[in-house]
Symmetry: C2
Subunit: 333 residues, 2 copies
């Protein structure tokens, strides 16, 4: 910058003004500065800039996912990026691997680099350690799940509503014995989906059969085993609601191996690639992770734009996609 000033024959102040938009600088001086910038290949240093700026903003935000390579999270990432891009804001991303310790380290690393805000897919634990950062002026938004032990802006899918829709769809085909395969309810989304399953049954006056509600220990393989187990039982379910992606895949694999994919109905939560190439196609309740990201970013930027009100909790709707597996009727009995 000093070089630019020298070449343009102006002061540092003037160069700074031009580089930052050029308000109130005479046109000829501004022109000389821009020429010098071009000539010298000057690159503005935003980290030095933000150090001295009154607002201290760095035009970057931090994103923490369970795993950046999980397609669900990478679509959230994309959604955030789309909104951030319009504002010239860059995104840092990191994987917590669902470990509280690592999540904490990432927030510190982001903080030390002066991010303007944080969007976090929280690991299930106490997030009150973030209160200090928030008090220090860094807005924080949680996505996909609410934080533990603190109140904060967050955006989640309509897990309970979507699950209820899935189960009601099966009920409408005449099914009364509907198996539930899902993660343990320690996980927020799993608990919500189980709640939706129960609510749908209850509205129909159907009593829950605890033998039909199962939590595979390992998603893919476990779901495979449990599906075999459920269908081999004395009073098997006539339909399955699989409440997570990999669980859906495991269950579908089991149905195909048994050759019963045309007999046992199935609706999954979350969409799956190739779901429409299989016969029957897999009926699912799809989430909209990109929208989750866009909305999370919107909440964050509204804080950066000065919103000071109470925390907001946005729910993104889900969509039933009918493809065949969920429309199989129960056996004539």
């Amino acid at each position: 910058m000093r070089e630019v000033a020298a070449v343009a024959g102006v002061s540092l102040s003037t160069v700074s003004r031009v580089v930052n938009g050029g308000e109130g600088v005479r046109a000829d001086l501004a022109g000389r500065v821009r020429d010098a910038v071009e000539l010298l290949g000057y690159r503005h240093n935003v980290t030095a800039s933000s150090l001295r700026r009154s607002d201290g903003l760095t035009a970057s935000i931090g994103l923490i996912f369970e795993d950046v390579s999980n397609p669900f999270f990478s679509l959230i990432h994309r959604g955030v990026e789309e909104v951030a891009r319009e504002r010239g804001v860059l995104t840092f991303a990191g994987s917590s691997d669902e470990e509280p310790e690592r999540e904490r380290k990432l927030t510190e690393a982001f903080g030390a680099r002066g991010v303007d805000g944080l969007i976090i897919v929280p690991a299930p634990h106490d997030h009150s350690y973030l209160l200090r950062d928030r008090a220090a002026g860094t807005p924080i938004v949680f996505a996909d799940r609410p934080p533990g032990f603190i109140d904060a802006d967050h955006v989640v899918s309509d897990n309970a509503g979507g699950a209820a829709t899935a189960v009601e769809h099966l009920l409408a085909q005449g099914h009364r014995r509907i198996g539930y395969l899902g993660d343990r309810p320690e996980i927020f989304t799993a608990a919500e989906r189980l709640r939706g399953y129960r609510a749908a049954l209850e509205r129909r006056g159907i009593e829950e059969d605890v033998a039909l509600v199962r939590h595979p220990r390992f998603r893919g393989e476990g779901a495979y085993e449990i599906t075999l187990d459920l269908l081999g039982a004395d009073r098997p379910p006539t339909a399955l609601f699989t409440s997570q992606n990999l669980i859906t895949i495991g269950a579908v694999r089991a149905l195909h191996d048994l050759g019963r994919e045309h007999e046992v109905a199935l609706v999954g939560f979350d969409d799956v690639v190739l779901a429409d190439v299989l016969t029957p196609g897999i009926t699912v309740v799809a989430q909209d992770p990109r929208e989750l990201g866009r909305e999370g970013a919107a909440l964050l930027f509204s804080r950066l734009d000065g919103y000071r009100g109470p925390s907001r909790h946005t729910v993104i709707p889900t969509t039933l996609i009918v493809r065949g597996s969920g429309e199989l009727p129960p056996p004539a009995a």
Copy 2:
């Protein structure tokens, strides 16, 4: 930091030394500093730190993908992250959407934030504009494809070798008319895979039938149409080599709709979720995107560690995964 110094009753220099590892500071002073850090909840500001540091490093690197939400790229991202994490280095990520202009903007944005290095999945165009950044000391590594018009470190999959393996596998089943569906050869990976296809045929002394080599305009849909077209022709292929993910899916969908998935052999390039639930399972040549990322990061960090030699070009091997579709024999004819 000033506060910490005041509370601990030492100078700024001493606090800085302790915060940066504490070499050559008396134990009691160091202890007082650490207590003060704890007490005040001091957060080190790495952006201010790097501004003054002799090496000017910020412990962050920039990643540019075509699209962060594409599972292939997000696995590269993950691989890079794994290596970077061990060094306490953070990653910025952005999507170029394959637009040269946007790629350029991202490199500038990263540069303005003082990243220590760049890993780029290049859009196909002239990358000589990056020479200035590299000359300024920012190492750059290209992943998945080499850059245009400049020589630089890069890591790519064995596209030609993998394609040849796929085609040889089909030849070994007795196929002689093998259709090729792939992106236009302007794309580096597509050109390489076509080269592998041709090399395999040539080694068997089979002359290429240009009618069998097709480039769908839109990956999924286009591949679907072209598959119908190819199989309806006078002298149809008995096997297909689909050289890209979405193209594989489109072609498989077409085979299933025609009810000919057990007649026409198919090998795809790149693995596909649920490929083993379909009947027959889809035989593929799989890439290892995570390894692409890990190796790209290794190249970058070796530069940061002082490597000054000529540019290196690493090739990551592919793996044939046999699942059924690629083992179908040609009709007895």
